[in-house]
């Protein structure tokens, strides 16, 4: 009898969690409820991985950094004040973790890794009968400093101000990186020679 009651309690608790909105889930997660965390992560994980795939150009790194961002989120949830969307906060954490990793790689002079990652992604896309476009190839050749702001601005629709906040750079720097990044893509695609 006691077991059935306990089971009922968890079923009701789970059903209640499923109907909670994001703010309630965040409040509950801040109080230490791991189920609220699990629901929030389940909702945002695919978006996070897809975003990371676009900036890392590597499916394995995308999964790895999505999990690292979730781990950091569990540790720092008390710092989330709700000024931005939870997804933006996760994106910001993941981006900064990736930038730290990229800087470390740069110091260790492992230049060839980026090209290998892109080839892996190209193979994965082509195995799904999707075309690896010239634009994707050009984007994969850009440095992270330019690629990330372009993806955030033109694919996810963030403002320059928000991009500046995510990357800890000035709004003008974000704007300049997007502009120069697009010019670099045009050069890579040889569009300027055609026009």
């Amino acid at each position: 009898m006691r077991l059935i009651n306990e089971f009922d309690f968890w079923v009701v608790a789970k059903a209640r969690l499923a109907f909670m909105d994001e703010k309630e889930l965040l409040d509950s997660a801040k109080k230490g409820d791991h189920r609220s965390f699990a629901i929030l992560f389940r909702e945002h994980y695919p978006l996070l991985v897809k975003y990371l795939l676009k900036i890392t150009m590597d499916p394995d790194l995308a999964e790895e950094f999505a999990q690292a961002a979730m781990a950091r989120c569990v540790e720092k949830i008390h710092l989330f004040k709700g000024k931005s969307k939870f997804s933006s906060w996760l994106i910001s954490i993941a981006t900064n973790l990736y930038i730290d990793h990229y800087r470390k790689l740069k110091r260790e002079r492992q230049w060839s890794e980026g090209e290998t990652n892109a080839r892996k992604l190209q193979w994965q896309l082509e195995s799904r009968n999707e075309e690896w476009t010239d634009a994707l190839a050009a984007l994969s050749k850009l440095s992270e400093e330019m690629r990330i702001p372009i993806v955030l601005k033109h694919y996810y629709g963030y403002s320059y101000d928000e991009i500046g906040e995510i990357l800890n750079i000035a709004e003008g720097t974000a704007k300049s990186r997007v502009h120069h990044g697009l010019l670099a893509v045009r050069r890579e695609l040889k569009l300027d020679d055609r026009s």
């Binding site: 695919p46 979730m70 781990a71 896309l125 999707e130 045009r186």
Partner: protein, 115 residues
């Protein structure tokens, strides 16, 4: 044609070119969305959170133990010097105060120099 009009036309041309580039990029990026992430169920996420919380607790305990050890080492050094070699204790105190004053002056001078 005035210079102003020429500049305006040039800007419009550049904007159109950049817009075309963005369209090409977005078409490519949309294809990447067809690659699904590894599916995980709610149980997996729950386990993940519980494991992370355990890691955080372990890290905290480790850091606390290290802090207590360092504090005990410093306090035992201070007490030893105070009771056994009082001269050394006072020399160390004077040196610590001198370093703090020197550091304070240097920081203040840096602030004045900065634009």
């Amino acid at each position: 044609m005035t210079d102003h009009k020429k500049i305006q036309q040039e800007n419009e041309r550049i904007n159109e070119e950049l817009f075309a580039t963005v369209t090409l990029l977005n078409e490519g990026l949309e294809k990447l969305d067809s690659i699904d992430s590894i599916p995980h169920d709610e149980k997996w996420f729950e386990q993940f959170v519980l494991m992370e919380k355990e890691n955080i607790k372990r890290k905290f305990r480790k850091e606390l133990a290290l802090f207590v050890l360092c504090a005990m080492f410093i306090i035992s050094g201070v007490l030893f010097s105070f009771f056994e070699i009082p001269q050394l204790f006072f020399v160390l105190q004077a040196a610590a105060i001198a370093i703090m004053i020197g550091y304070g002056f240097r920081s203040a001078a840096k602030r004045v120099d900065s634009p």
